[in-house]
Symmetry: C2
Subunit: 400 residues, 2 copies
């Protein structure tokens, strides 16, 4: 008799975005005359950069001609993309070997699949509030999960606690959903904790391209010895608008070595290579050519223009909240603005207020964990016009 995975029974159904969609559509139906502005979306809206489109168009044409057609590629990605990423990392001071970089279809897949190479006996440390994938993928393999609290007192940047023993630690900086970003000194503390405890940090750098201050690390590998205790996951989704184009990369340094429970020493880079060559067949050649263009001089320039557009939206949102005295986090090194709901409202009360009184849609912080209760996420991915109008409505609405 085939048994199915019991751990799936422990997953909570997430109704967050379904509930939001339901409420918004019910409101829209009852009030067809009202213009609803959506600033809850965690997805980019600007098109791909021209040089990326050109590179993919060229690659598509190559696939139709026998002499340039490409079949199976290397599971870990083409050398041309590794080379582009080695150069990109060097631009912020990180030296990588080509074979420390694994091209993937996105950070979501990798931050979930990376669990494969770890023992199920590990204790997993996860921030709250959090991107739900870290939590659910570990529940699926029945692991012991503990939480660290993000809260106003620590600017939603939880720090290591020597009394807590964690084996695998998820960090996301700049953070989804709070937009907070660790400083170099804070990451040094995390690296010191991980080295002392032989822990491994899974560092999600999906929003690194939004970092505006050179003092804020764009990679955990700017920290000395981080290569001995960290895996970095990154994505082109927010860097280059690849949410529907799908490409990311994961860095597993050769220096990262841990033991099995029976004491066998393993290089995690080799384990991940084995995992990927066994369970994955690489990212489409066409997409890898697009990704290569992202990291070209012209590509970086074009992608920066889109990011600057979103950053100006974020600035407009922050300026609005400054005017009405609402406390917020993020927004500077992140497309996310994480705000404290006014007047002691709960996340969902504020959601209802924004929708019903002002016709603005955001995301209740409570959807990202219990520490998110009383907070709310707005994103900078709307159009300029809608962002300005939404903030005018909010400023006027909260003044009343």
């Amino acid at each position: 008799m085939a048994f199915v995975n019991e751990n799936y029974c422990n997953l909570k159904e997430s109704f967050l975005f379904a509930d939001i969609a339901h409420k918004v559509s019910a409101y829209a139906e009852a009030h067809p005359d009202k213009k609803i502005i959506r600033l809850g979306i965690g997805d980019v809206t600007l098109p791909l950069a021209k040089c990326v489109v050109d590179a993919m168009a060229k690659a598509v044409a190559e696939m139709g001609v026998q002499s340039t057609f490409r079949g199976y590629g290397p599971e870990q990605g083409y050398d041309f993309l590794h080379a582009a990423l080695v150069k990109y990392y060097a631009s912020f001071g990180v030296t990588l070997e080509s074979d420390e970089i694994f091209i993937s279809d996105g950070a979501k897949s990798d931050c979930a699949n990376i669990t494969d190479i770890f023992s199920n006996a590990n204790t997993i440390l996860i921030p709250d509030p959090v991107y739900p994938v870290y939590l659910d993928t570990n529940i699926m393999c029945g692991r012991h999960i503990i939480y660290m609290e993000g809260k106003p007192e620590n600017d939603f940047l939880p720090m290591p606690d020597e009394n807590v023993k964690a084996d695998v630690i998820y960090l996301c900086s700049p953070n989804n959903p709070t937009g907070s970003a660790y400083t170099k000194e804070q990451l040094e503390e995390w690296v010191a904790y991980a080295l002392k405890n032989d822990a491994v940090i899974l560092y999600d750098a999906a929003y690194e391209a939004y970092v505006t201050d050179p003092a804020i690390p764009r990679s955990i590998f700017v920290i000395e010895d981080a290569k001995k205790c960290a895996i970095e996951l990154c994505s082109l989704s927010k860097t280059a608008g690849f949410t529907g184009t799908r490409c990311g990369y994961t860095v597993v340094p050769h220096a990262l070595v841990r033991k099995t429970e029976s004491g066998k020493e393993m290089e995690l880079n080799k384990m991940w290579l084995r995992r990927q060559t066994t369970k994955f067949n690489g990212v489409p050649y066409i997409i890898q050519r697009g990704a290569e263009a992202v990291f070209s001089e012209e590509g970086i320039k074009q992608c920066r223009e889109s990011i600057a557009y979103y950053q100006e939206n974020a600035r407009i949102i922050m300026e609005g909240f400054d005017k009405v005295g609402i406390k917020y986090y993020g927004g500077v090194h992140s497309p996310y603005i994480w705000l404290q709901c006014p007047d002691g409202m709960s996340s969902w009360e504020f959601f209802d207020f924004l929708l019903e009184k002002l016709q603005v849609v955001g995301t209740p912080g409570a959807g990202f964990g219990k520490m998110g209760e009383g907070f709310f996420r707005l994103t900078a991915f709307g159009s300029r016009e809608n962002t300005i109008e939404a903030m005018e409505r909010i400023i006027n609405g909260l003044k009343k």
Copy 2:
């Protein structure tokens, strides 16, 4: 202390293709004047069909324009591709619901990742010889694996044995590496076994497009009640030359229900949906548009032309072996010809003979499992000219 997955120590390093590459390059270096013909490759060589290239070029252009840009898509794939597949399946008599089909980046990923939704306590039944992914992915999660023997006596099509209790069963038909294909009657026996034992069949149909006889099933779901005991994995790699373009699909019927060890009844379709929405972010929009074109009337016609080209190569190979009295399997419903090495040679002896005497490269059967010893795989993916020349060399070489 973070422990890594002990099961990885039980994986055998596969040197098959590395060993082949090493031997071939050493020979080529020592004999620069000799023309080596490679018929070992398991990868397509003809370019993508024109209508597929056109569809992807259009999709690439859409991604560069704000009004047609696509961000995150549904993890399980776009409705337009589901609709195309529902129609495709109907063409060989299988009725599917749209939400029974999950679009993926290929059958390799899915036949590996599908292990996630099963308990590690299951006994896994795997054919020998076999595509190594079935084996290695189950070793990675520490499962009990048993084998069923493919051999000349059963035409390399092992059948169920009532004395063997298996929970999860991998079947691949038409088979890689042997090219053998189960008849409808044989699959009915497998379905009866699975239903009787509450087992689940993981049916790899990656080569279904090579079936030439309507009496040979192209889907396990032509068998009555197979929806109660089977998951089907398929790929566009060999159907449409997508080995470097990456798209596949997995069918998990709603009727497939099994229990957890504690007795909770679960619909596997819902479990797989949860797995995919948690750990995967879908196939690139551009690629899905290409896949949609594969299943259009024009696309099917164009892809069939490439398959016909490979099938003619297979016919030439089989005709050659008929002339010299070499026994083989496959080749009819498959791009693979699985032959018995002549004169009692081992797989590697025959490899060396072909390389050194005739400058033809194939794949030693022993690389696919112990039952492959004494057998050898040639593929129909070479050019017509090379296939003809290789067979002339083999015919003349074996006559001597």
